[in-house]
Amino acid sequence: MEIKERIKEGLSNKIVSWDEKSGRRIYFSVKKEDIRDTVKFLFKELGLRFSIATGIDTPSGFEILYHFSFDELGIFYSVRVLIEDKKHPQIDSIAPIFPGAEWIEREIWEMLGINFVGHPNLKRLLLAEDWPQGDYPLRSENES
């Protein structure tokens, strides 16, 4: 079965929307409660390679894109999650599934202030120790 069909079938009760921007760029969104199961399925069952995650501050909430690469066919799947609660943003950590996600979750945590529940070692990665607590540089209220 084609990889796309396997994803659609395996995550049929989780996928909220599906957007193929091109043959190589597929974006789909899931509810934030489903992120750990979704990632586990993509990484462990289908063997997709985790490339990185992108945290974005949008007017409707914090968005996280988890980018997965299916290298055999050169297709890039981005799983989109929206965290609406901007006051206390939090989501399940995917780092317990595989260690390659530890750093990027630490980075999103310090840059956007999103709490990753269940992360084994949630501490600063890039920001200096004396950077003020509660000041998140990538939030949109900080002028660039």
Binding site: T54, I56, D71, F76, P99
Partner: protein, 402 residues
Amino acid sequence: MSHKVIVPIGPYHPLQDEPEFFQLYVEGEKVVDIDIIIGYNHRGIEKLSESKHFDQVAFLVERICGICSSSHPYAFVLAVEDILGGEKSVVPERALYIRTIIDELQRIHSHLLWLGLAGHFIGYNTVWMWAWKYREPILDMFEMITGNRNNYAMYKVGGVRRDMLEEDKPILEKALDELLPALDLFRGAVMDDPVIKARLKGVGILTKQQAIDWCVVGPTARASGINIDVRRDEPYGVSDRLNWNVIVEKDGDIFAKTVVRILELYESVSIIRQCLDDMPGGPIDSDVKDIPPGEGIGRVEAPRGECFHYIKSDGTNRPVRHKIRAPSYMNVASNKVAAVGQTISDATITLAAVDPCYCCTERVAVINKPDNKKILNGWDLIRLSQEKTNKVKEDLLNAGPG
């Protein structure tokens, strides 16, 4: 009887491109754990990018790394062109060839740089001098083609900034011809040398499963048997029109990583030659004016692996969000498993084997007890590593032929 000793390595050294801080936990000679602390060089480029217009961002991201100063702007323009419908739909033919030539020249100079440092770490200073000697003419080629030995300023959305002159072609061909005997020399010196084999085989192993779990990329992944290369998996430039091979090794040790990089040098030379043969004439820029709203992802196989850029545009002339992930971000983290279980004398070369622009280190303190602090410098670590090579050499000599 053994008690834990902490060996901090880093974070600053003038020879290092990026300051990184490795804290090794050592029992006797054996590394039992490692803490990796980064961020000393964080410049907020993702945030800064939101304040630049699309033409400026290419210059900004070029300055992320002095070695990969083709990969970052290339991945960035690919991300923007992804919004526009893909590289091939907006970039003229000739520019595609020029992009590939610059990208492969970068791989040659970067791999030679690493080879030299790796040689130095294990006490092969001749390899170090040779590798850097033969790297110089490649930098001269950059100067000839782009005007700069570093930070080439070649990439822009929709094309390249500077055309390649016809009279430059034979000079570049000659430089490649002269490089090949040097590559043969390295291949012989590394792959047939019993001392290097004994020194690097079985050291700093990253197994295939570990490579998958830590999501490593580039030569680090390919040396562990993972067959990935963005140039083949998601072709950009003209990489899908040329004949070349993805080099994959199985063992995952430092020897395998070295072999992958040396053999990739040959592939890069071959790619550039084919580009020079096939390059058509014509325009080099399609003069893109507006970037529509949307999001795009650009991926390039940098010398160290997949370089990732994500761009979100709202239709203005500046990106709303620009996410950058350099390959070392994934590779350096894997030292957590590759360096553990090694001896201290193998730590330097193991940490360097992922090619994180990390070379020798300064400010190394070996801490035995809180009140007993001994300061070593980075050269001591390299000395330990070189002494081990000498030991291996002597053992081999004493064992005699056969």
